[in-house]
């Protein structure tokens, strides 16, 4: 090996801590980048493989009734591949506990080969023709510990049915199992899917071939949009309720949101790490080069060219780039395997495809190299500007300029010597100080963001299910009934308040945009909802017109006073245009709200309701048990409990983020303190000669770090806020809107974390002070 490389290796060995610190930051950046990206792609691949093998439907059609000829007409369309008619309805499951509410969605299994949304058999066999056997969706079976051979009882159309479990299955339709868009988080204990034989369902309920749900696949999944009008035409007299395209199907949408979130996270967060690693590397290299002036002069005097000297220092940076790139890639790849497995499990995707993507290998190595080259160049390029003679001269002593504080005698004279020393040092080496402050600010911002994420879901849930929707229960009926029936419920349950609701999906059309959105009709003076406009002012349900949720307004580009077209699903009825009276903040879901009377008048025919809201301290599940019209009961309390379990996952993710953020702070303090010790060796040595103890010298460094940490945190507060609001924007979508202000405790907690990491970093540098032989430094002049 040539001697110059030998010197480099020995230099690295001597400052291992420093080298490893930067390596770690870079490795983490690359690691997050590759693991997130590869997981996202693997998840997508696994999902699409599942969809393809199991004929995931391209269209879901809800309608009042359909017959053989309708299905045949659909099947004869040139684009359409398979068509299945299904009976779909929800019903309560009878369980041993009286206080529990379990809703099952019953879906009939067509007796056909190549079924749309083909089930993936996990255990047992599918129900035989005409039998009262049932296949249970795996998530539900697992959550409720349902085994093959168990008997399930459900109640529908006023009758109880007993079913025998013969299979557990997975379905591409319920990769992410939620009851409705409103519930947001899977709750498989209280909501499940049962697959029954088609003939059994038809016979039991006298439904015949009159299906209320049609699923179909196309030959070409992409040629979808044009089909909607065609379908609407064919189904005009079948009481068409809703056509859902594949990309709007709820489970599919949730999984894609997750994949997109992962992708977005992998584009932004690793970049912060890479940038910080590059900045540290650049600053460090600059220091190394500055401290190596004389060595550089010697090398040049020996006849080494500028390029050779430059390359000598660049190798330092590049070696970090290569090692960090490879290490980050290897670990990231390992993690992506685990992450994908976790996701696939979480989403109940029976396929796990893990592939190594070469473009990410190349990309991440290039990324690491580019960052390190840039950092190295920033640090080392100045070598070419120093003339050899110049670099041999000892650095010109700092011109004894007075610092600002020294110009304020009253202040200055009252400082102790050590404080004077600290302040002077801070005010003199501006670029190093800027580096530390910016580093601390970044660390703080990252930590604040992590802590905030912990807060945010909690807050969002409390706001949505506590303040925005304050009802205790939401009851849905199996068919609409007259509003006048509300009094009967008043007698049935001991309720503080009961209000009617009418909820239907309607297709909204504006310009080129059209989308099916649930419209909820409620009392004008409702106590169940509290709407706030965009400036957080309370608003009332208008007598006419409607309130739309913020994301609906965004989707259709609506402002107050605009009119929007609503397609009627009642045959021969014209579309209506309704005015947007106000826009409300809504964290979860996309909805429009109207006065129930106005809604019935404009969009429906009679004074009907599809459900009620109840406020009650009682457990109304027991009281409503025998009421056949009730198809589902949603309890806000229950939703909140489910949510608390769900946050366990989030807390893990946040823990990891805090850890990574902390590493940043550690590395910044550790490497800059190390650098400053090297630079101030002579100064410290003189202090030692003057009789200062090591402890007192270390105290100088500590004081400086604490001052800088304080300033850094203060700068970190606005930086963290900016980070939060930019990520709010990135991560908000149709399903949820992130817009919560970070709480005061978050700010404090982030500060505490920052200080802890700074403290640990200081402890790590203390060893160096203790080990250093200051007198040796004074005696020798080696480079």
């Amino acid at each position: 090996m040539n001697t110059l490389n030998l010197r480099l290796i020995r230099t690295v060995k001597k400052s291992k801590g420093q080298y490893i610190a930067i390596l770690v930051v870079l490795t983490i950046g690359i690691l997050i980048y590759t693991s997130f990206n590869i997981s996202a792609i693997n998840l997508k691949d696994s999902l699409h493989k599942y969809y393809e093998e199991n004929n995931f439907a391209d269209y879901y059609i809800d309608l009042v009734n359909s017959d053989e000829t309708t299905l045949e007409r659909l099947e004869s369309l040139p684009q359409v591949n398979h068509v299945n008619g299904r009976h779909v309805f929800e019903a309560p499951l009878i369980t041993e506990s009286d206080d529990e509410r379990v809703t099952v969605k019953i879906i009939s299994l067509p007796n056909k080969a190549d079924r749309v949304n083909e089930l993936k058999l996990k255990q047992g066999r599918l129900p035989t023709k005409g039998s009262s056997e049932v296949a249970v969706l795996e998530q539900f079976a697992n959550a409720r510990n349902i085994k093959l051979g168990d008997k399930l009882v459900f109640q529908a159309y006023g009758q109880k049915r007993e079913l025998e479990v013969v299979a557990t299955v997975a379905s591409p339709e319920f990769v992410y199992l939620i009851e409705s868009e409103q519930t947001f988080i899977p709750n498989p204990i209280n909501f499940g899917i049962l697959y029954l034989d088609d003939q059994f369902v038809s016979n039991q309920y006298g439904l015949g071939n009159s299906y209320n749900n049609i699923v179909l696949t196309l030959y070409e999944s992409n040629a979808e949009h044009s089909l909607k009008d065609v379908l609407e035409n064919i189904l005009e007299y079948n009481g068409l309720l809703r056509i859902t395209r594949r990309q709007d199907q709820i489970s599919n949408r949730m999984v894609h949101e997750e994949i997109n979130g992962l992708k977005k996270a992998s584009d932004s967060i690793p970049l912060i790490f890479l940038l910080v690693a590059a900045v540290i590397l650049g600053v460090m290299l600059k220091r190394i080069v500055e401290n190596d002036r004389i060595a550089i002069g010697i090398l040049k005097s020996l006849g080494y060219s500028n390029q050779q000297v430059l390359w000598h220092y660049m190798k330092y940076a590049l070696s970090i780039g290569i090692i960090g790139g490879v290490l980050g890639l290897a670990i990231g790849y390992g993690i992506s395997g685990m992450m994908t497995a976790l996701y696939v499990e979480f989403f109940n995707i029976p396929f796990l495809t893990i592939e190594l993507y070469y473009q990410y290998i190349i990309l991440s190595i290039i990324l690491a190299m580019v960052f390190c080259t840039a950092a190295g160049a920033y640090g080392a390029l100045r070598i070419s500007y120093i003339s050899p003679a110049e670099s041999m001269r000892p650095p010109t002593p700092q011109i004894g300029k007075r610092t600002i504080l020294e110009k304020i005698p009253i202040l200055w004279q009252n400082l102790s010597f050590s404080w004077k020393n600290v302040v002077r040092n801070i005010l003199r080496s501006k670029s190093r100080i800027a580096f530390i402050i910016i580093g601390i600010a970044l660390t703080y911002a990252l930590l604040l963001f992590s802590v905030y994420m912990n807060d945010v879901f909690d807050e969002m849930f409390n706001l949505h299910f506590g303040e925005f929707m304050s009802m205790d229960y939401e009851i849905n009926f199996s068919r609409p009934i007259s509003i006048s029936n509300i009094n009967e419920f008043n007698e049935l349950v001991d309720a503080d308040l009961i209000e009617p609701k009418s909820e239907y999906p309607f297709e909204f059309i504006r310009g080129r945009e059209n989308y099916v959105i649930n419209v909820i009709g409620i009392n004008e003076d409702t106590k169940m909802f509290s709407f706030n406009d965009l400036s957080y002012q309370s608003i009332r349900v208008p007598q006419t017109g409607m309130i739309v949720s913020e994301n609906m307004a965004r989707k259709f580009d609506l402002e107050i006073g605009d009119y929007i077209e609503i397609a009627s699903f009642i045959p021969e009825r014209d579309n209506v245009f309704l005015e947007v009276k106000n826009i409300t903040k809504q964290l979860f879901g996309i909805n429009a709200y109207m006065n129930i009377d106005y809604m019935n008048e404009m969009l429906l025919d009679d004074d009907m309701m599809t459900g009620i809201y109840i406020n009650s301290k009682d457990n109304i599940v027991r009281e409503l048990r025998e009421v056949t019209i009730v198809s589902s009961i949603l309890s806000n309390q229950e939703l909140r409990e489910v949510f608390e379990e769900f946050t366990g996952l989030i807390i893990l993710a946040i823990g990891i983020m805090v850890f990574f953020g902390g590493i940043l702070g550690f590395v910044i303090i550790y490497s800059s303190t190390n650098m400053s010790i090297s630079e101030r060796l002579l100064e410290f040595s003189s202090l030692r000669v003057m009789g200062f103890r090591k402890r007192e010298i270390f105290a100088l460094i500590k004081k400086e770090n604490y001052i800088l940490t304080t300033i850094g945190i203060m700068l970190g507060i606005p930086l963290g806020r900016a980070l939060i609001s930019s990520l709010d924007l990135i991560f908000s979508n149709e399903l949820y809107t992130l817009s919560i202000k970070a709480s005061g405790i978050s700010f404090v907690l982030a500060a505490v974390f920052t200080i802890v990491f700074v403290y640990i970093a200081q402890l790590a540098t203390k060893r160096r002070i203790e080990k250093l032989d200051f007198l040796e430094a004074l005696k020798n002049r080696m480079v």
């Binding site: 030998l6 010197r7 002069g297 020996l302 006849g303 003339s387 050899p388 110049e390 080696m782």
Partner: protein, 234 residues
């Protein structure tokens, strides 16, 4: 006569903010092959500036330097690098060895890029350090470190050695030994040697003495009877 170095009206100005410092003014002199030249002058008189320009470490503001009739003032950066690499060996007051390289490795740093280097072991035995060749600088005394530095300069097998206050940081006896070593290299290896010093006594061992004051050469004479280093005292 074959001159190794020839300068013409060499001048160097430094700009310190508004103030112009004339470090060197119209320095003209010649050095013949195989000469042992001592440049004398008080601190700040421009000796180092002169030596750096001659060694291709710095560029003159005015005037020319010829090395074996080649004008190095017109050299490009890479020509200057080659000039330093093949023709010049520097020795500095503070030895300036690389701390994390052994004595041998410090010398190898120079020989690796040289065209026709001398045998390292031979040179170490010449400077009397063969038994310490694998020591790190921190394990050597000042005089020993300076011997390594001289070995580093000599091993490249350059045309001339340029020494900037080589004894400045050493005690009397050690200093004399270093001077003896330089003298031997001059005579036995037939190298041109330029030594800078503020110590006039050292002028007595030179073939040729150049005396400077305030950036100007005020005296330039040939010493008919150079003394042995052991004979001079200060």
């Amino acid at each position: 006569m074959d001159y190794v170095i020839e300068t013409k009206d060499l001048a160097k100005e430094y700009l310190m903010g508004e103030v112009k410092v004339e470090a060197l003014k119209r320095a003209t002199f010649k050095v013949a092959h195989g000469d042992f030249v001592v440049i004398l002058g008080p601190s700040g008189s421009g000796k180092s500036t002169l030596l750096n320009i001659i060694g291709g470490m710095d560029e003159a503001t005015n005037g020319e330097v010829y090395f074996k009739n080649e004008n190095i003032s017109s050299f490009s950066q890479s020509e200057l690098t080659n000039y330093r690499r093949y023709q010049v060996g520097f020795v500095f007051q503070f030895y300036n060895l690389m701390a994390n390289l052994t004595a041998r490795e410090n010398v190898e740093l120079a020989t690796e890029i040289a065209k026709d280097p001398l045998d390292i072991d031979e040179v170490f035995s010449l400077v009397g350090l063969l038994d310490r060749i694998d020591h790190f600088p921190s394990q050597l005394s000042g005089g020993e470190q300076q011997r390594v530095a001289i070995a580093r300069a000599v091993c490249k097998n350059p045309e001339m050695l340029l020494c900037d206050e080589p004894t400045g940081a050493l005690d009397y006896d050690t200093g004399k030994k270093i001077l003896r070593l330089l003298r031997d290299i001059n005579r036995d290896l037939n190298k041109t040697v330029l030594v800078i010093t503020h110590n006039s006594a050292i002028g007595k061992m030179a073939d040729r003495v150049i005396r400077m004051r305030s950036g100007e050469i005020i005296e330039d004479y040939i010493n008919k009877q150079p003394l042995d280093p052991e004979e001079i005292e200060w």
